[in-house]
Symmetry: C2
């Protein structure tokens, strides 16, 4: 599909080779741990069975777990263990899943399909989708304070998650309901939408993982390693959403496992729409380079984060 658009993505070829070896392993390794941890936490909650089912339906529906995976390797990148990132990984995945459930509602994007399955409000009903989404956001904060035993780190993580989630909601408002100054240039508006809508939670994922990794090693939370991970997160966060925009116009519904072409149908501003597809692809490559440069001081432990960035630049769904 992409070559049909007349653009070339040299990085895609180079990384495509690696995809079958290192990158797939990097992507997949933490997923079973994250899923088991999430399942264990949700099972432990004293909630009605129908609510638990709805929470787990949308949560354990086979997503990529990109945000927990980023948290995992951000913990490793600063010298900690991936294992220690699990409360953060569970929290950001709960927030991500809640946002998908609410975004899919009839009053929002009105989507019937998510990850190749009926959306939650189709599989259950709208009231349950609203309540299960609310519950997931709530449980995201709960898992942090119940599973992180250092209260200083726990409250820092809560703040980080709240800022990320607030940014995500703000971005969703900008994207679907407007509210940006009229005087802003189109590309500035796009950056403002994307930095919030997707960037803020990716930033939180990486920073929270790194904060738990630093706790692991006894290092201070203000360590330069956290600064490096934050710069990496900001670059891949914007890159991720630009790639999403590109996929929306270049892939089919079957390839994506969700409806394609919907940004265009909704008349939304997108990077390919504003810059053209070639310039949008170039922007992806620049942001990838920026992300890799940010990780330089972290050396070998940051290798999985590098792999992930390269994968995120060339993903096809």
């Amino acid at each position: 599909m992409q070559t049909a658009q007349g653009t070339t993505r040299p990085l895609q070829v180079e990384v495509g080779v690696e995809m079958n070896t290192k990158v797939r392993d990097v992507l997949v390794r933490p997923v079973a741990e994250v899923d088991g941890y999430l399942h264990g936490f949700v099972s432990s909650l004293p909630i009605p069975d129908n609510l638990r089912e709805a929470v787990q339906y949308a949560l354990l529906g086979g997503g990529k777990r990109l945000r927990p995976v980023l948290a995992w390797y951000s913990a490793e990148a600063v010298g900690g263990t991936g294992q220690s990132s699990l409360p953060a990984g569970a929290a950001v995945e709960l927030v991500h899943a809640f946002s998908l459930v609410h975004d899919d509602l009839p009053a929002m994007d009105d989507d019937d399909l998510r990850r190749g399955r009926p959306t939650l409000h189709r599989a259950f009903n709208e009231a349950m989708a609203i309540l299960a989404g609310d519950a997931k956001l709530n449980f995201a904060f709960q898992v942090l304070v119940e599973r992180v035993h250092d209260p200083l780190v726990a409250s820092s993580l809560v703040r980080e998650l709240a800022i990320g989630t607030g940014g995500m909601i703000a971005g969703q408002v900008y994207d679907t309901l407007g509210g940006m100054p009229e005087t802003m240039a189109a590309e500035e508006k796009l950056k403002c939408i994307h930095n919030n809508k997707t960037g803020a939670l990716i930033r939180a994922s990486c920073r929270m993982g790194a904060m738990l990794g630093l706790m692991d090693t006894g290092r201070a939370q203000g360590d330069q390693r956290l600064v490096a991970v934050t710069a990496y997160a900001d670059a891949i966060g914007l890159m991720f959403q630009i790639v999403d925009d590109i996929l929306d116009v270049t892939q089919t519904t079957e390839q994506l496992g969700k409806k394609s072409g919907k940004d265009q149908d909704a008349g939304k501003m997108t990077y390919p729409g504003v810059l053209g597809l070639a310039a949008a692809n170039k922007r992806v490559d620049d942001l990838l380079a920026e992300a890799l440069a940010a990780l330089e001081p972290l050396g070998a432990p940051a290798e999985p984060l590098r792999q992930l960035a390269r994968y995120m630049a060339v993903r096809t769904k």
Copy 2:
């Protein structure tokens, strides 16, 4: 209206006299502080103006602020200042306001009127009501970690709020979507619904206020004063919802400022429906006595909490 139902509420007469003097003052005194604090916090957030307007529309729309008022006097009851309870008061009011906005949505209760004004999704639109509700839940956690500087207390408050909010959502599910064991007796089901739907957040309001009050005085968070406040909260929480059920069948829409008779219309189980109105009124009186007994060890500083309990037993809207 109530006498037309043929029930007598002796307490109502007794407390009716006081309403013009002490109770009104007790109810009103913290409200300006809470409103100012909430306004200041929401104004400080870096969010789109339209989202901020929607958040403030539902938040500053002249509610009773019962939960922040309970937090305020729970802090005083354990020997602290009401002022120190404000982060908790803001948090529980944000959660309460979020739950009203989502409950009013067309897919839930489908209400057009709230506190005598159009509901948020009527004044703005449904997408904004979903997102503003989400944002308020998120900001409830944010205000705790940003405004409470002792991280041990902050993370305890986050946990308390999450448990209260989870209970509230579970109660809403039980009430509107079922999920309770078929074998449960009707009154047991009602108690399960109410203890969660309204009780859990009232419990959190009182406990969080008390925890901040204890911090104020340097006392341990496990102090017996917290146990007393918790027992009080559990009694008034259930009582509050029974009164709500009674008002729904005895008051008009104009008196309530929201649609009356809707439980009956929706075929919901209610205390007057299951026990009869007289027995429901008796239950209110018993729970009031229980609440007052729980406060005994706290002496004079708990006097406003006693006034509040008496008011809650006889409120007419």
